[in-house]
């Protein structure tokens, strides 16, 4: 609780300053509505925002699961052979450095205009893929070299080595990758939804676009607040998982 108090106080001070500034300077509400107006919008549009948040969250979660399966699986396969790793790594990096916005129109075409949500999931998964792939691969190779030698000495089979040494050693790296990937999956889902921008998906990004087009700035900020909260909660959930696993492991 004492850890939460300073940031909460800071947020309260910032919000109060914002409110006072808007009222004193008579800032037009389409330009910057005061926090009270954003709060009212949040309450007003709560059911709609909740449904949109759920849609975005669900797409991000599917993307995260797909990225974990593909990234983790590929890393596992590649970790067994050095040439395979050398072959795959540059491609993975290429995928990472390509902006998701740039490949979005292409993925939209592949998914078909009627399946915008599939495209969003695929794009978000592409963004979340690299930290998981890289985390699992780095983790699998992070075991103490002397422990590896010990497994050599006692004639461990590849399966024994994987299950008893490399996977447990990889777990902290996997969780770190998961934490980064969870944040990226949400960002990816939002960006992809922006690009699809058709209302075919009903996530928070669409709420933002829609409110922006109508100059309903308070509604925009309300959707933004939902996104921020979702990101924080997701981060906290992965952080909690990380702490639980670490306590069990070490």
């Amino acid at each position: 609780m004492t850890r939460l108090l300073p940031p909460l106080l800071l947020v309260a001070v910032l919000l109060a300053g914002w409110e006072v500034t808007c009222r004193v300077l008579l800032v037009p509400s389409y330009f910057l509505p005061p926090p009270s107006a954003v709060g009212a919008a949040l309450i007003d549009r709560a059911p709609l925002l909740a449904a949109s948040a759920a849609a975005t969250f669900w797409m991000a979660l599917q993307a995260l699961a797909a990225a974990a399966l593909l990234g983790g699986g590929l890393a596992l396969a590649v970790s067994l052979s050095r040439p395979a790793e050398q072959a795959v790594r540059p491609l993975a990096v290429a995928l990472q450095v390509t902006p998701v916005v740039a490949i979005a129109p292409l993925v939209m075409i592949w998914a078909g205009l009627d399946n915008a949500d599939r495209a969003v999931v695929a794009l978000a998964a592409a963004v979340a893929f690299f930290p998981l792939f890289s985390g699992v691969l780095t983790g699998l190779k992070s075991a103490d070299p002397d422990l590896e030698r010990l497994f050599d000495l006692y004639g461990a089979s590849p399966v024994q080595r994987l299950l008893r040494l490399r996977l447990p050693a990889a777990l902290p790296f996997v969780l770190e990758g998961l934490r980064v990937a969870a944040g990226l999956a949400v960002i990816g889902a939002v960006v992809a939804e922006f690009v699809s921008g058709s209302g075919a998906t009903q996530g928070l990004a669409w709420r933002l676009l829609e409110a922006g087009n109508r100059l309903r700035t308070a509604d925009m900020l309300a959707a933004l607040a939902c996104l921020m909260t979702m990101g924080l909660l997701l981060n906290a959930a992965v952080g909690l998982l990380d702490r639980i696993v670490r306590r069990r492991l070490a």
Partner: protein
Amino acid sequence: MAEAAEGAAASLDGVLVRYPGRPPLGPIDLTVATGEIVAVVGASGAGKSTLLRLLAGLEPPSEGAVHRAEGRTGFVFQTATLMPWADALANVALPLELAGMARPEARTRAAAALTAVGLGDRLDARPRQLSGGMAMRVALARALVTEPDLLLLDEPFAALDSVTRRRLIEDLHHLWAARVPRPAIVFVTHDVEEAVYLAGRTLVLAGATGRAAAELASPGPLPRPACWRADAGYRTAVEALAAALARAMPALPVEAGP
């Protein structure tokens, strides 16, 4: 790896190891008799750890032959090298379980091995809950649990304080003496006093070449009698070994005066 000669636990015959970008190590000849304790000293880079890995079969020689008598090998590294996610019991049971022994049987034997090194009450302790000395005892128990015929130790006590180190050396002697037949031990160290006290003879490796520069026998019985460190024979052997080691060190470049 070929069979060793009668009475030998392991031997290196004209073994040469080449690493890219540096002079080769060796050729080295070493025969470790069954039940014998051999210490190996030498400068950093003299090939002490390589020698152990060769004996363990973890590294093939570039030339020459490594002979091993039929039997199991135990290895203790410079650090305890325990799996941090597993408790002491699981760490010690590992070699047995990797060899396919059923878990209950492996755990029973591991518990006995931990009791033998004085950790019978810390079976469920995680490595981070153990002091450096205790962790090293767990590593020792793990090396001994398979009842090895050849025990290889790579500067295992270097990071410990002197009291703990002396206690562990005594324990190692007693564990060695209690086994029938006694295992052969090859012990790498940079500490001449430790070498003289622990081993029946000490091999001095010449700096950066991996060749044997000298071989000195330690006087007296093994395990050592109480207060043996005050013995004149021990002091003389330590001085002789220190001198031999100094001769084997690579010459230091002399800095030009002003």
